[in-house]
């Protein structure tokens, strides 16, 4: 199986997206090796630097519009439950423009995976603050410091009822692969927040590297998950826990809606 598309990669040299791409390709290779059909894998992206990833992986894909990845892949999953659908979004895309869709996808526990390239800045529009930019951060649209507090997407997703919530870092290739694989294999809504620097507009790489810790609590413990999530509010201080915050098994939207039907085959 050749996962190369031949498309020219246009990310900035050193961008964390390369690590995300490499980890995800490994996951696809493993999934196919384990028996999932290459034809049944679909990925989608929104708009932003992250979105180019669909051009760089030779699988079925849909390059969607800003913020709309969750409904796009939800539509695919409702149409054909045999598909394995993975959505990629940036922090502006997933936590800003399309946050309502993300909340509702989690709420209805649809069996999709969202991987968020969270560099805490708008990159492709050349450096404005994003939903997860720390308060006080100087950006192009906040030259005297960001007047807003950052959103904690882990808390948001736990609150919305997501049944798999994890965080990883683009500096941790193996951990990233593990988290992505667990997320894709999770039956229900899964989200992986990938913390990464933006080398051009918000290079917090040193801070991320120095403050990440691997968690090891029982992921079915929602209270513990919340405690861990509260230890870093995407500011400039606190412990950035990596790993699975929370995992729960419950019937998915597709199971409850379709009751075993496959619309593609009906």
């Amino acid at each position: 199986m050749n996962l190369e598309t031949g498309a020219c990669n246009t990310w900035c040299p050193g961008c964390g997206n390369f690590a995300i791409l490499a980890s995800f390709k490994k996951v696809v290779e493993e999934l196919v090796k384990e028996g999932r059909r290459h034809e049944d894998i679909v990925i989608a992206s929104g708009i932003g630097c992250h979105a180019k990833i669909v051009d760089y992986v030779n699988v079925n894909s849909f390059y969607s519009i800003h913020g709309r990845v969750p409904p796009t892949i939800s539509g695919m999953k409702v149409a054909n439950p045999n598909l394995t659908v993975v959505g990629f979004a940036g922090d502006g895309d997933g936590y800003g423009e399309g946050v309502a869709h993300l909340v509702f996808a989690a709420k209805r526990n649809i069996d999709i995976t969202m991987i968020i390239h969270n560099n805490r800045i708008y990159g492709l529009t050349t450096g404005q603050f994003s939903p997860t930019t720390p308060q006080g951060q100087k950006t192009k649209s906040t030259p005297y410091g960001n007047p807003e507090y950052p959103l904690n997407p882990i808390k948001l997703m736990l609150g919305a009822g997501a049944t798999f919530v994890a965080r990883t870092s683009s500096f941790e290739l193996e951990h990233m692969r593990q988290m992505m694989k667990e997320a894709v294999n999770h039956r229900g809504f899964a989200i992986v927040d990938v913390v990464e620097p933006c080398l051009s507009f918000f290079n917090a790489g040193d801070y991320i590297k120095a403050n990440t810790y691997k968690m090891n609590h029982d992921p079915s413990d929602l209270k513990k998950a919340w405690e861990k999530a509260c230890e870093w509010n995407y500011t400039t201080e606190g412990k950035i826990h990596l790993g699975i915050f929370y995992r729960e098994e419950k019937p998915t939207f597709g199971e409850l809606l379709l009751k075993g039907k496959n619309l593609r085959k009906s």
Partner: protein, 532 residues
């Protein structure tokens, strides 16, 4: 035979259902029916009324004058007594001239005030000379509980009123349904498997109908978090190979607009139903208007390819919905069914016919699959995830394999590919019917209209010896056909404040209505007589 009956009361009285039951009763006798349903945006109280028009000929509108007024509350008398002197009323609630029936106290004693409806249905049957058996059968099929009490109510009403007409069976029944039900069934007949919506009047009953009857029709429904989600979910399901329709009204379609553009670029065959209501903005939510024409025609940034179809009644809505689904998949473009409250929520006699799913051009399996293969007519063969591993759909300008390009030659080539699809579509349209002409073909005066306003226009044209010209497609506008028919004095008749179709076709003379109510033949005739 052409008689009209108005039933009025307050919200929660069951007026709408009474109108539909009456329509079904007259349908059983072979009459054609049209039911106008007038209600306000509230759940209890206010004033609701239905006008049931019954004819031995086809009817697509209601008139101002009615032959019988049935009043469940005082408001009905005050607001509608100008329409007729023939009145039947609930003497427990209403003071009036006419025939009194103590319906409320009778119904209360029997256990439910809603039984009043059956009392008055029975009374109307007696008044129009219809046998009680017909009514009993229809009522039995319409209710799930209190069947015995409803039968008793019919009998009580029947015995309370004298016969005025002698309506005999004149033919076989056809179907009776709202425009929204017709849209739902037409699309399902052409292979729709998924309907996605966010509730919005007057489109919501498509969702209700399909949610209830989906199992039978093979359609799954999803109520999504908002219209933006709705439209994008439809893009995803179409990409996965499942025929999908979405439905909304103007405000919801405004939210979908970015996705309309995405459908054009990604060649996603989503069918959009836009049931217009009185705008701008919240406007008058439960009343009708034809004011989204320019909006729908132009919705979407960039050079958007789309097809806009405008049925004028429920039967056309059935066939157009099927055609919309088939054309969307054949040309891989978004297709719009532009209806309005007057079609969506009015009840019509409908003859459904044979429609079927037409298969689009599918990939032949040779070589590597390329989603946007450049072809002579611009149509790229379809294949779906699950069957292939290289289906790459995109909002970005792209090469044939769906990966991104910003190269000028490649950008232009894809734009031209998409334009060729529209040329092919136009060629297909030219071979079929794109404009309907009614009335006196060589008349000196032509009424130009579209959508639901055809009902009033055709009726008045037949009375006054005029011609009516009506485009069935509004984008691409069938100018090749319209040019042939728009000769001499042309007067545009539209239910909007500016004359949107008239603007597009350069027609100066206009008769417009923009109070949220449709034209009645009588009202339109009066306006015409002032200027002819």
């Amino acid at each position: 035979m052409d008689i009209s009956i108005l039933v009025g009361g307050q919200a929660g009285d069951g007026i709408k259902q009474s109108g539909v039951i009456l329509a079904k009763i007259f349908n059983e006798l072979g009459y054609r029916v049209f039911v106008y349903d007038d209600y306000q945006s509230l759940i209890r109280g206010g004033h609701n009324f239905s006008i049931v028009r019954v004819s031995d000929k086809e009817v697509y509108s209601h008139n101002d004058h009615v032959d019988l007024l049935v009043a469940l509350n005082q408001d009905t008398i005050e607001k509608h007594k100008w329409r007729t002197k023939e009145i039947i009323y609930d003497s427990d609630k209403v003071k009036s001239e006419g025939k009194d029936i103590p319906a409320r106290s009778w119904a209360k004693e029997k256990g439910s005030q809603l039984l009043r409806n059956s009392v008055f249905i029975g009374a109307i049957c007696s008044y129009t000379g219809i046998g009680l058996e017909v009514a009993k059968n229809v009522v039995k099929n319409s209710f799930h509980k209190m069947i015995d009490e409803n039968m008793e109510a019919l009998k009580f009403g029947y015995g309370s009123v004298d016969k005025k007409y002698e309506m005999k069976k004149i033919g076989e029944p056809i179907e009776v349904m709202t425009g929204n039900e017709a849209v739902a069934r037409g699309a399902a007949a052409a292979g729709m498997k998924l309907y996605i919506a966010y509730p919005m009047t007057p489109s919501s009953s498509i969702l209700h109908y399909l949610a209830k009857n989906g199992e039978k029709l093979g359609v799954t429904t999803v109520q999504d978090e908002n219209e933006i989600g709705v439209a994008n979910m439809a893009v995803g399901s179409c990409f996965a190979g499942v025929r999908t329709m979405v439905g909304t009204s103007g405000g919801g379609l405004a939210l979908m607009t970015e996705t309309i553009s995405l459908c054009s670029q990604s060649e996603s065959p989503v069918v959009f139903v836009n049931s217009q209501r009185a705008g701008p903005s919240t406007g008058v939510p439960t009343y009708t208007m034809q004011a989204d024409l320019k909006f729908v025609k132009n919705a979407g940034h960039g050079d958007v390819n789309k097809l806009v179809m405008a049925p004028g009644d429920a039967e056309e809505s059935y066939f157009f919905a099927a055609k919309a689904m088939n054309l969307a998949w054949k040309y891989q473009i978004p297709v719009f069914l532009l209806v309005d409250k007057q079609i969506s929520e009015s009840t019509f006699s409908v003859k459904v016919g044979n429609v079927k799913k037409e298969e689009p051009r599918l990939w032949d399996g040779k070589g590597e699959y390329q989603r946007y293969k450049i072809t002579e007519n611009g149509i790229s063969p379809l294949a779906f995830p699950g069957d292939v591993a290289t289906a790459k759909g995109t909002s970005y300008e792209h090469y044939e394999n769906g990966t991104t390009t910003e190269e000028p030659e490649a950008v232009a080539a894809m734009q031209e590919k998409r334009l060729r699809k529209m040329e092919a579509l136009k060629e297909e349209m030219k071979k079929g019917e794109t404009v309907k002409v009614y009335g006196k073909k060589d008349a000196k005066v032509t009424l130009l209209t579209w959508g639901s306003t055809k009902g009033a226009c055709i009726e008045v044209a037949n009375q006054l010896g005029l011609k009516v010209v009506r485009p069935l497609y509004l984008e691409p506008m069938p100018v090749w056909e319209l040019d042939k028919h728009l000769k001499g004095r042309v007067i545009a008749v539209e239910v909007n404040a500016t004359g949107q179709l008239a603007d597009m076709l350069g027609i100066k003379e206009r008769i417009l209505k923009y109070d949220g109510r449709p034209f009645t033949p009588g009202g339109l005739r009066k306006k015409l007589e002032e200027i002819l």
